[in-house]
Amino acid sequence: MLAYLIRRLFAAAVMLVVVILAVFCIFFVFPKWAGVDIASSFVGKQADPAAVEAVRAKLGLDDPVYSQVWEFFKGIFVGRTYVGGGDVTHCAAPCFGYSFRTEQAVWPVLTDRFPVTLGLALGAAVLWLVFGVAAGVLSALKRGSLWDRGAMVVALAGVSLPIYFTGLLSLAIFAYGLGWIDGQYVPIGDSFSGWLGGMLLPWITLAFLYAAMYARITRATMLEVLGEDYIRTARAKGLKEQVVIRKHAMRSTLTPILTMLGMDLGALIGGAILTETTFSLPGLGQKVLDAIKNQDLPFILGVTLITSLAVLIANLVVDILYAVIDPRVRLA
């Protein structure tokens, strides 16, 4: 078990370095190849040449790529001081970059917005896990029944609907048409019930999409598992059907679901961009979109990095849970 954990931790650390390199390439290397002057895209389209040169000096854009990466990497742990163009900008650790356009460090803004996104992702995850997995299992057990067909039609529709469309529809119907819900985001600190009311539609909309996906996968996996030899063995030795399903079939059905959950949750925690945009939730995803519209690269970079981190951590947690659910993993 310990050896397994150490291996997973090591793999996660390697992935982290790779992710930082990849993100760095996206923002600093590829655009350069495509002929973009990176310094000017950090300042803004109508910047004067002096400001552009200052940023170039501050970010060390003329230095070799490896030293730029190293400076950035170091900044995450010890903070960073940008010097250039006659002024000095300090960015405290953990420094995930600094926006010269808005004169803001990236990290504090991200931590400000993080709770909104976390609340959205976790709330929706609970809903989609409960409903998606339950619907999938029931469909598999009653294969071909009216329930199965009905549930799978709904699930197919669910995976075919873009979330920003279902979101807008639900806003138009429930918030504007029927007036049941305000549709406004209220911070959880201001009013808990207001927060619940504001999050209800986003939760349901987001969970609907994922529940549809999870129901389809759960059903397919469960059907496959039910065809395995060990299930026949379990039945042959006279176990009750309920025990066969709960103790034998569910365990192997849950492993791929867990993998998906790790990735999906990680990606959502890093910003449910589409959902947040549709419902005007002030989370990380909305910040990314604002940053894209204003070409504010440090924020895009920061959120991309944070999201990758979230995915890495979620995957690590899943790996550890694996060892708990599946004994084969521990022994391997």
Partner: protein, 335 residues
């Protein structure tokens, strides 16, 4: 997928390969049913999948013939019709977003562009990006997947790690980041073509590991089969085995994963355009129409419903067809 036959290849490229296979095996007189034929007969019985397939064909026709269709109804996607707009609210006059005999799906708020024409032209972007990015993913995924599975060793180790890594990335965000940092002028292209090209390449690039993983797994199991041993012992070279023995048997899973990837890619394209990093206005795309509809969801709901339903029908049709193809090509299938 289980039976090592050449027939699945016939399914992919019907006429030419069919004749070649028949000639090569001298099977003209045999009345047996090939795997491709069995799959086709299964597919024909699957009403839902067929409906999906027909809708897909219609959509492709609509996209290809967009200028003709728009001309037939006497509209084009960029002409403004301000006379149909309520100057006070900016929404279309007339009921249901200005739907009339002239403007079949109504007009857009503010500038009054014809929604029907924009939907028809938007199909071009959706399908083009959806198909071509799937092609990019299939080509990279098949090549690298076969290499990994066939050669094994460090080749496999490197390719597999890359695939794991890419699958663990938050894809939408990386796609957004990549598409948004790239310039509007690239390789001599400008405007819409740059955005379309970027989306095809980037979506395809993040999609290949899904295909690659499946192809690698299939190759791994296929190369240990007796018929491959037989070919090898008869003196067949590596490349002969690769192209003549392995690839034809990989066609079925590749077809299945391609048909399932296209709807996902269409959704990604719509999402990118919705977020404003895809195709830029005035070029019509469904995602971007939905994004402008956000501001009118209460005053002009039809503006949001039309592109939303267009995306829904397209993706649903591809999903239905894809599910049908998967069931039809599944050797374990009972029907």
């Amino acid at each position: 997928m289980t039976a090592p036959l050449h027939e699945p290849a016939a399914e992919a490229a019907p006429s030419a390969v069919d004749e070649a296979t028949v000639a090569a095996t001298g099977a003209t007189a045999v009345q047996g049913r090939s795997l491709g034929r069995i799959a086709w007969e299964r597919l024909k019985r699957d009403k839902l999948a067929l409906t999906g397939g027909v809708v897909v064909l219609v959509l492709i026709l609509v996209a290809v013939l967009a200028p003709v269709i728009a001309h037939l109804v006497g509209q084009d996607p960029e002409t403004h019709h301000e006379d149909l707009i309520d100057p006070l609210f900016g929404t279309p006059t007339g009921s249901l977003g200005g739907i009339s005999g002239e403007h079949l799906f109504g007009v857009e708020p503010v500038n009054g562009r014809d929604i029907f024409a924009r939907i028809v032209y938007g199909a071009q972007i959706s399908l083009l990006v959806g198909f071509l990015s799937a092609v990019v993913a299939v080509v990279i995924g098949t090549v690298l997947g076969v290499l990994a599975g066939f050669f094994g060793g460090w080749v496999d180790a490197v390719i597999s790690r890359i695939m794991d890594g890419l699958l663990a990335f938050p894809q939408l965000l990386f796609i957004i980041a990549l598409v948004s940092v790239m310039p509007d002028r690239l390789l001599g292209l400008t405007g819409t073509s740059v955005r379309v090209l970027l989306m095809i390449v980037v979506i395809g690039f993040f999609g290949w590991p899904y295909i690659g993983r499946v192809v690698r797994g299939q190759t791994l199991s296929l190369r240990e089969r007796e018929y491959v041993d037989a070919a090898r012992s008869l003196g067949a070279g590596r490349f002969y085995i690769l192209f003549k023995e392995l690839l034809p048997n990989l066609v079925a899973p590749i077809i299945v994963y391609t048909t399932m990837m296209i709807p996902t890619n269409i959704l990604t394209e719509a999402a990118l355009s919705f977020l404003g990093v895809g195709v830029k206005p005035p070029t019509a795309s469904w995602g971007q129409m939905l994004s402008s509809a956000i501001d009118y969801y209460d005053s002009d709901p039809m503006y949001m419903v039309v592109p939303g339903v267009a995306i829904f029908i397209t993706v649903l049709a591809f999903n239905l067809f894809g599910d049908g193809v998967r069931d039809a090509l599944d050797p374990k299938g009972s029907r």
